[in-house]
Every structure is written in structure tokens, then in C-alpha cells.
């Protein structure tokens, strides 16, 4: 068995993800939001009518990512139904991560895409994201754990992919109870087949490369393993070059697509995302990939993202191009307190070397 990936394989993975993002942008997805797990979960939540104040569209990219990971994990015999590792805690962390992402306006993947588009607000947000990961690392080093998972019945591992097939059917059939935005970001979309194909490619590549926007920084700090950082760099360079060629690159803070300029809240929003995601063991993209690979704890986490998206828009927490909201700022304080409480309550003092060995 090939045990490790080479630097080139993660760079190639990054190039492929970057090219898919460029393609999706070319075919109609919003500017600097060609692919975003948080935004697209929010859109899908709206498409199902679970939130009515934000964009509404069942994003085929997400369905593709999940099914791409599902298929490749089956093919490579890595699909394994697992679950039972603090599921409710993971759900709550998922809610908090989504609240943070919608304060910043994007997941870590979109942060990279925004940087590649010249959006300096995302560069500022990166500071908070790294700060959040470093905070999570402090707890990991002190013994933070959401405890082990256990084998589950086969249906537990296929339920989430099946739900996504159902979502695809609903999208194509478009019954009256499914919502479609007529203007705004939710109305900016690549054709379904292209979006689905793009998602399948990204899901397969991310499953193979273990692409995660938290693990790069986390593992660089914890284990001096810098490989995954090359993947982010590859995505950024590919999208940056495409933006420069197509004239979409615009350096600055003001009037960036679907972004606000409140620097403190860009930092704090992504701080919450980085902190929560580190405790969860992976970024929103990684949770999607693990959910497709049979991990029902990650599926629960994604459902937490869905709940977080519904709460964010129904309760007026989500930011817009005009900036953050008072409700969003209060929600941030509550969510960051909740994440700290979860971190403290699941951290036991680091055991000795002998104690660690079972």
C-alpha cells in the first residue's frame, strides 16, 4: 500500500480544485464564490425553505462533492460506517462554525478564492482563521478529544449519500415547495450538470488527497508537516492566474463581490470557524468528504451547518455586503463562549507517555 502522498500529488489536487472553481465561475457561479461549502449549504438550506431571508438554491456542487467522496471511498474500499463520537457536541460545533462563516461570508475554501480574487478582507480574515486553529491546537495539546467512534450498521453509512440523491431529484424535478432565488447570489449559478460534475471531481480529489483547510496549518504547527499548505497555494495560484487573465482580479478592500469591509468581524468570524473546525477535526469541506465516506458524526456536523445557516438567516445573524448585524455580533459572542465551554469540558489533563500507551 502506498503510505504517503507526495508533495506533487497535493499540488495536483490543488490545481484540479482550482481549475474546477475557475470553470464554475466561468459558467455562472458568483464572483469569488465559485465554490464555497458554507455559502452553498446556506443556499441549499434556503432552497429547502428552511431559511427564507437569504439565497435559495439547492447547489448541485455540494451533492457532487458528497457523492464523489462516497463513490471514490467505495471504489478504494475506504468506505466505513462509523459514528458515536459525541454527535450532539459535533452538531453544536457545526452550528457555531456556520455562524462564524456567515459573519465572514465564506468557508476557508472561499477565503482562499477571495484572496485569489484580490479581496484583502479575506487576507485580514486569514489572521483570525489561523488564530482560531492555534487556539484549537492549545486544547488538542492539553488532551482535547470528542472520544472514539464505533462501527455502525451499513445503512448509517449510506443514509447521507441517499439524502443527497433525493436532493438532486428535488432540484431537477423542482416541485412547488422547492425555492429558487430569482436575483442575488442564489440566482447566479452554473448549469446543473456542470455544477454536479465539478462537485464530483472535487469530492473525489478531496477524498484522495485528504484536502482539509484546517489540517494544513494544524499539522504544520503540531508535526512540522507542511504538505497540505502546498495544496492551498496551488488553488490560490490557479485561480489568481485565471482572474488575472480574465480581468476579474481586483485588489482592495472595497466593493469586493459578496464581502464586507469590517476587518474586526472578518477576523472574528474566521476565528470561530478555525477554532470550531479544529475541535471537529476538519474544515467544512473535510466534514462533507468524511460524511460521504460513511462517517455519520461528520454527517451530523453537516446537519449542524444546515441548522446554523437556517438560524443565521432567519434570526438576522448573517452579514451582507453592507456589513455585520447587531444580532450577528451577539451570536458571535455566544458561539465563541459555547466553543470554549465545549473545549474545556472535553479536555483532560495530558496523560504521561506511559499512560498514553494502551
Amino acid at each position: 500500500m502506498k503510505k504517503t502522498w507526495s508533495k506533487w500529488s497535493v499540488i495536483i489536487a490543488g490545481v484540479i480544485v482550482g481549475l474546477v472553481a475557475v470553470g464554475l465561475g466561468h459558467y455562472g457561479n458568483p464572483g469569488n464564490m465559485q465554490l464555497c461549502i458554507a455559502c452553498f449549504i446556506r443556499d441549499t438550506t434556503g432552497g429547502l425553505g428552511l431559511q427564507t431571508a437569504g439565497p435559495q438554491y439547492i447547489r448541485p456542487e455540494l451533492i457532487g462533492i458528497l457523492l464523489g467522496a462516497f463513490i471514490i471511498s467505495i471504489v478504494r474500499k475506504e468506505h466505513a460506517p462509523k459514528g458515536g463520537s459525541s454527535p450532539l457536541t459535533r452538531f453544536i460545533l457545526g452550528v457555531c462554525v456556520m455562524v462564524g462563516a456567515l459573519i465572514f461570508l465564506g468557508c476557508p475554501l472561499r477565503m482562499v478564492l477571495r484572496i485569489a480574487g484580490g479581496d484583502l478582507n479575506a487576507v485580514v480574515g486569514l489572521i483570525g482563521f489561523v488564530g482560531g486553529i492555534l487556539t484549537g491546537i492549545v486544547f488538542l495539546n492539553k488532551g482535547f478529544s470528542l472520544k472514539r467512534n464505533y462501527d455502525q450498521p451499513a445503512i448509517e453509512g449510506v443514509a447521507f449519500p441517499a439524502i443527497n440523491v433525493l436532493l438532486l431529484i428535488l432540484l431537477v424535478a423542482a416541485p412547488a415547495f422547492i425555492f429558487f432565488s430569482e436575483k442575488g447570489p442564489g440566482a447566479m449559478k452554473a448549469p446543473i450538470l456542470i455544477s454536479l460534475a465539478g462537485g464530483l471531481i472535487v469530492g473525489a480529489v478531496a477524498q484522495r488527497s485528504r484536502l482539509c483547510f484546517v489540517s494544513g496549518t494544524r499539522d504544520a504547527v503540531l508535526f512540522k508537516d507542511f504538505g497540505m499548505l502546498l495544496c492551498y497555494a496551488a488553488i490560490c495560484v490557479v485561480v489568481l492566474v485565471a482572474n488575472l487573465i480574465s480581468g476579474k482580479f481586483k485588489l482592495g478592500f472595497a466593493e469586493q463581490p459578496i464581502a464586507h469591509t469590517e476587518w474586526l468581524w472578518n477576523i472574528l468570524g474566521l476565528y470561530l470557524v478555525g477554532f470550531g473546525s479544529t475541535l471537529l477535526g476538519g474544515c467544512p469541506m473535510r466534514q462533507m468528504i468524511l460524511a460521504g465516506s460513511g462517517n455519520s458524526d461528520s454527517a451530523i456536523t453537516v446537519l449542524g451547518f444546515v441548522a446554523g445557516a437556517a438560524i443565521s438567516h432567519n434570526f438576522g445573524l448573517a452579514s451582507s455586503a453592507a456589513g455585520t448585524t447587531a444580532n450577528g455580533r451577539v451570536a458571535f459572542v455566544i458561539c465563541v463562549a459555547v466553543v470554549f465551554i465545549i473545549a474545556f469540558c472535553n479536555t483532560k489533563k495530558s496523560s504521561s507517555a506511559k499512560g498514553a500507551a494502551a
Binding site: W5, K82, S215, D219, F223, A356
Partner: protein, 69 residues
């Protein structure tokens, strides 16, 4: 003396952190993990610390044998 580390059911980075705690003075380690991604992460870390790694088992349980070169 062989050290056995049971990291079954734990998701990354916890298995690597458990390995990191014992790898300092060890020469012979048996590490139990249950996912391919954990095998890959632990292998990279062990190799960076000068260990030769062999893996047996399959889906559900991998037994990693780490020997100091």
C-alpha cells in the same frame, strides 16, 4: 520493549498526537488505527522521526509496526 498505542476509533490528529507522546524514547511501537487517512498521517510523522513503518490489516483495523531505523 514494544509499546502498543490503541488509537482505534479516534480521528486525526488524535492518533498522531498519541504517537507523538510515546515516540521520543521508543524503538518498537505497535499502533492500532482504523482509517487509511490515519495510517497515512501516522506514517508521515513516524518516518519523519526516523522510523521504518509497515502496515497490516485492512478496512476497520490497521496494525502499524514502527521500528527505529
Amino acid at each position: 520493549m514494544k509499546i502498543t498505542v490503541d488509537a482505534l476509533g479516534l480521528s486525526c490528529p488524535e492518533p498522531v498526537l498519541k504517537l507523538k507522546k510515546v515516540i521520543g524514547g521508543a524503538k518498537d511501537i505497535e499502533l492500532l488505527v482504523d482509517s487509511r487517512s490515519c495510517v497515512e498521517n501516522c506514517t508521515r510523522f513516524a518516518e519523519s522521526k526516523g522510523f521504518a513503518v509497515s502496515v497490516s490489516g485492512g478496512r476497520g483495523q490497521y496494525v502499524m509496526t514502527l521500528k527505529k531505523k
